[in-house]
């Protein structure tokens, strides 16, 4: 069967697309939908409340010259002291509301809701 060159090219493009899609799927395992960045600036968490799907990883980055911690009130997670530009990540496997604070400045409170 004669296959027009253009169709062969289309097939090749289709195959390439499948590969690209698979690649994108592999990438999603590294940076899942719902992964979220929370910044710490001027003695506050930004945003103070976030909602993420179960399995998402939340990363906190401290932009203040003063160190902060990210410490859950029920002991689920506890960062070391984060100096300026340090980050801390935690993967939320289970649904729930996770309240946390900075133990250096306990008036800094925020929460992560996992659905």
């Amino acid at each position: 069967m004669h296959v027009p060159t253009s169709r062969r090219a289309a097939g090749a493009i289709l195959a390439a697309c499948v590969v690209l899609t698979l690649s994108a799927g592999a990438g999603a395992a590294l940076a899942r939908q719902g992964d979220t960045l929370v910044t710490i600036k001027s003695f506050d968490f930004h945003p103070m409340t976030i909602t993420v799907p179960a399995g998402a990883t939340v990363t906190w980055k401290n932009l203040d010259a003063e160190p902060h911690t990210v410490t859950s009130t029920d002991g689920a997670f506890h960062s070391p002291a984060l100096d300026q530009d340090d980050t801390f990540s935690f993967k939320f496997a289970r649904p729930g509301v996770y309240k946390y604070l900075c133990t250096i400045h306990p008036r800094m409170v925020a929460s992560v809701t996992v659905k």
Binding site: S42, F43, D64, A65, E66, P67, T69, T71, T73, H78, P80, A81, D83, Q84, K99, L101, T103, I104, H105, P106, R107, V109
Partner: protein
């Protein structure tokens, strides 16, 4: 609040080894030249040197407000060693380190070992216990308290109590001592003569200086109730990196300078972070507090000395 930033003018520097002596017996701060107090035979004015308070060394901090906190701690150690009368011991009221890292604790210990005093007593700051359980702090300083952090000892007839108010937090609120520690304190003080001078030392202020920044302790009123029957009570704190004093009845409250960097006055700016000042002004805002026993029935005498 008995705090007037303009009083800083009374703290003008007179070179290393000089400073200002504050008599707090009248409830009003009044300054005397420390050099005058150092004259032979001046004991009746200054009392017997007891100890020196050092605070907030933040070893590990390296930002604009002071890129050389090791250097200023070393200067503070030299200042203590140069005092006209050698103090019996030094109290460090916390934030020895900036990030609770082992290397920071080791560096601080190396610098503090230069103190020519017999003993170093400590209480942790919140920066010293950011590893949660305070593992690094207690591995080094937990001995006297059996790893509780709070403990007491007697020296020259004065009862000293180190308290920990940086490990229990109510989210969104102030730090606290907690019921276990309050119960221990009650037992520790029971049976003591009301005429025995009491010195309480803790990192965070034991009175509300500025709650929005956490400058207080939520259950400090219960502590003060326990010491209310004593005739001479001195409460020494750090944390806020500036001198704030007040007297209430028989209780003298005093926060020490940092050896590392100043912080803004209460409520100025977004939060209680490092305050950058012109380089030549920094040593005037750092220093130590020396405490002397006063004549009978008088409060202890507190003397703040700046690095320059």
């Amino acid at each position: 609040m008995n705090y007037d930033p303009t009083r800083r003018s009374a703290l003008r520097c007179m070179g290393i080894g000089a400073g200002t002596l504050f008599s707090l017996s009248s409830g009003v701060l009044s300054g005397f030249d420390l050099a005058q107090a150092a004259q032979p035979g001046a004991d009746s004015a200054t009392g017997t040197p007891l100890f020196v308070q050092i605070s907030d060394s933040h070893i590990g901090f390296n930002k604009e407000a002071n890129p050389d906190v090791a250097g200023t701690l070393a200067q503070s150690v030299a200042l203590v060693n140069a005092l006209p009368a050698r103090p019996a011991f030094v109290l460090h009221t916390g934030d020895i380190t900036h990030l609770s890292r082992p290397a920071e604790f080791d560096h601080a210990a190396q610098l503090l070992s230069g103190l020519r005093v017999a003993e170093l007593h400590t209480t942790p700051g919140e920066h010293d216990v950011t590893d949660g359980a305070g593992t690094e702090y207690f591995a080094r300083y937990g001995g006297p308290s059996k790893n509780r952090g709070y403990y007491s000892f007697d020296h020259a007839g004065v009862h000293f109590v180190g308290l920990v108010n940086v490990m229990q937090f109510k989210a969104g609120g102030l730090a606290s001592l907690g019921d276990d520690q309050l119960g221990w304190l009650k037992d520790d003080l029971s049976g003591r003569s009301a005429s025995q001078p009491i010195v309480l030392f803790a990192h965070m202020p034991m009175w509300s200086i500025y709650e929005p920044w956490g400058w207080g302790s939520s259950d400090s009123s219960q502590v003060l109730a326990l010491v209310s029957r004593f005739g001479s009570v001195t409460v020494l704190n750090g944390h806020i990196h500036q001198i704030v004093s007040k007297v209430e009845g028989h209780v003298t409250f005093h926060t020490a300078r940092s050896t590392a960097y100043p912080q803004p006055a209460a409520g100025v700016g977004p939060g209680p972070g490092p305050l950058s000042v012109p380089h030549d002004q920094l040593p005037r805002m750092l220093g130590v507090t020396s405490v002397a026993r006063a004549p009978l029935h008088q409060p202890l005498r507190l003397t703040d000395t700046a690095l320059a």
